[in-house]
Symmetry: C2
Subunit: 419 residues, 2 copies
């Protein structure tokens, strides 16, 4: 444990020292490093696949599920996508050194609010190795140093990816510790990092709810996270029902395993008799299970009766909970009670109802007449996404580069003193 302790502390200290260099790198230099990574990812394609094969062999030995093994696999196409991702990050505007606001005070002081990096970011994530490259490129572009702690299943793939970043950094004489990878797979290392508030500035856990809860509970460093996405759509009495049908099916079925897929549908009782039978037919075609209340089952007779835990549950699967509600108030109340403050939407032509819904539903993204599936950094036009936050402190909703920055006040005077 003593040696693990000193390994962790050493890594954190080096990352902090590196962050003081990356903080003031010009955009052009950062982009050159990223383009070098793109080049190396291409040149080392075969080595990458060899290392990935080691992970895959272990995964097969451990009899991981086919879904997990698929997520773990680095195909040539996925390597190309990874390169494209880094190229895109290189093409984004530099988020650092932007003047967010500037004003002059009556005494002549000029005050500017200027963006700066956060410092050192610790990212804990599970199996997909492309997350390694995504996180490294975004943190580096935003002037931060990053410490990556990937899942043990992707150990070899992650390590070679981190080494490719290190090689690109070395070539441009930037401290390699700007991108660090935790090679000690001892789980206790995570807990040790989470205590280092003097060296680390932010923790981002990406993965299942239990991982995230564990990190949040133990960390002394601020954590940005969402536990889960229990997204709702509410079909209002004044919805365009044809549109509502299309949007609801998209929100549930386009990619059911994502955090912004719909999990519960609320339907106003006035439109339920017209809306639900057709929805039922379409869901049946899509092989989507329905768990509804008694009223729902009047119109979708094959639906199961929703149990206690079905509302507020993140199925991440072809299962939809449905409830018929008497009015907008009940819909909002349901979302406040069972939602996870991720993404919730209303389908309506009634502007007053939409306004009330938008004001009273306290979620990081609120949709009006659009699929919940749009809640995503790329769909919002950020060009990148490091995660989605349901917290209210710092970044909220889909987080791009901006969420990886802070600011400082720069005050310029001519010798002013305070009286």
């Amino acid at each position: 444990m003593a040696s693990l302790n000193s390994y962790v502390l050493d890594l954190a200290k080096k990352a902090k020292a590196a962050s003081q260099v990356t903080a003031s790198l010009p955009a052009s230099k950062k982009n050159r490093v990223l383009l070098e990574v793109v080049r190396l990812l291409g040149r080392k394609k075969n080595a990458l696949r060899r290392e990935n094969e080691k992970d895959l062999r272990n995964a097969r030995k451990k009899k991981l599920s086919p879904v997990l093994i698929d997520r773990l696999t680095l195909t040539p196409k996925r390597i190309e996508e990874m390169r494209e991702g880094v190229r895109m990050v290189a093409g984004l505007h530099d988020p650092i050194g932007r003047v967010l606001a500037a004003w002059r005070r009556p005494n002549g002081l000029k005050i500017s609010k200027v963006t700066v990096p956060l410092g050192v970011i610790f990212i804990i994530y599970e199996s997909r190795p492309n997350v390694t490259s995504e996180c490294a490129s975004l943190c580096f572009k935003s002037g931060n140093a990053v410490i990556l702690r990937g899942g043990s299943e992707a150990f070899y793939s992650n390590q070679i990816l981190a080494n490719i970043y290190k090689q690109a950094l070395r070539k441009h004489r930037i401290p390699e510790a700007s991108v660090s990878f935790v090679t000690d797979t001892d789980h206790r290392a995570i807990d040790l990092f989470l205590q280092l508030e003097d060296w680390l500035n932010l923790v981002i856990p990406r993965g299942g709810e239990s991982l995230i809860r564990r990190v949040a509970r133990r960390s002394r460093i601020p954590v940005i996270k969402h536990y889960k996405g229990v997204c709702h759509l509410y079909v209002d009495e004044r919805a365009d029902l044809k549109q509502a049908l299309r949007v609801a099916l998209n929100a549930k079925c386009q990619r059911p395993a994502t955090c912004n897929a719909m999990e519960t549908l609320l339907v106003h009782q006035k439109v339920a008799p017209r809306f639900l039978p057709e929805l039922g037919r379409e869901l049946k075609k899509a092989r989507c299970e329905v768990r509804g209340d008694r009223k729902t089952r009047q119109f979708i007779p094959w639906a199961k009766l929703a149990g206690k835990g079905d509302y507020g549950k993140e199925f991440l699967d072809r299962i939809l909970a449905v409830r018929v509600v008497p009015n907008l108030d009940t819909a909002i109340e349901h979302i406040q009670t069972f939602g996870s403050a991720h993404t919730d939407g209303i389908l309506t032509r009634d502007r007053a109802a939409a306004r009330r819904f938008v004001e009273e539903v306290d979620s990081s993204s609120v949709m009006v007449n659009a699929s919940t599936r749009f809640s995503d950094g790329f769909q919002y036009g950020f060009g990148a996404e490091i995660g989605i936050s349901t917290d209210k402190i710092h970044a909220r909703g889909p987080m791009g580069l901006e969420g990886l920055t802070s600011y400082k006040y720069v005050v310029e005077g001519r010798g002013q003193t305070r009286e």
Copy 2:
């Protein structure tokens, strides 16, 4: 403990319910409530002083220091200042419902980023009763519910102040739990609140370093804070020495007990022979002790030799640590090593040196040719200050109303689905 537990949980739940009402109050209504508070503070002046007298009697019995007793005392002048403070908050722009940015995506979706309140804010503070009114007015104006936990020395004063807010809320039919005051003085109540992450959104501890560290260590809710203000000024080789003298004296002596007062002065060795003797004379006149390194003592012979703990110490008193440095690099390094990331400044006519200092000093406020004493929400023109943050997550530096808000994304479509 069971009854304390249910007292705390009940208070938190009621505050959360209240916050759902305050979140969407129109500005005009919030301002009317605040002006009613101003009126009541005037009408209940005598009752206020009577309750304050109870606290003062206890304080004298406990033999609190004259400084603490002074801070505790509500004079007629201070009550007037408190009223003026609430009136000013009523006059500030509503920070809620502001559209921070809005754009349209190629698929026609309109995305807006709109400010919202944080929810429930828990504030823990020490003796000054005017903090009660300051915090209550700022949290209410920003649409948040607040739970106030003041020091036991000001118990009676705080309670009547909270009751005045409740009376004003009642008059306008807003839930009284929008402003709650913890009447159970059991210290364990604080720890219980700090666990309630599902009900509370932010904790702001205001007080001494040990209180703040204790809260930060135990809280499962995000905490915004600064542990201490170890502020530096660096007199560069190209400083205007006359100006530097005025600014340094102001930063140290104008109000030494504040967190933005200078604690350590760094002087470039080239100007030390001209600058330090005169500084020494002025500090002597101001009865300010000097603790310097050997070089400092060449020019201020009566200075004490600085001990190990003097650099990086928050004296909050008429004591100044001084160090002669060979160059700008050493000055920056000193600040990075010993500073608290609160406020640090450079005095120079050299633009390149100023630029490097501003870039490399990682503090929440960086001053160029101005006193550190300006680091303050009022001096920055925010019209209010809830505290100063040296964290990098969420608000940094002096925090006004804006720091008490978050945002949500509102996405408006015409039935768009994701392909």
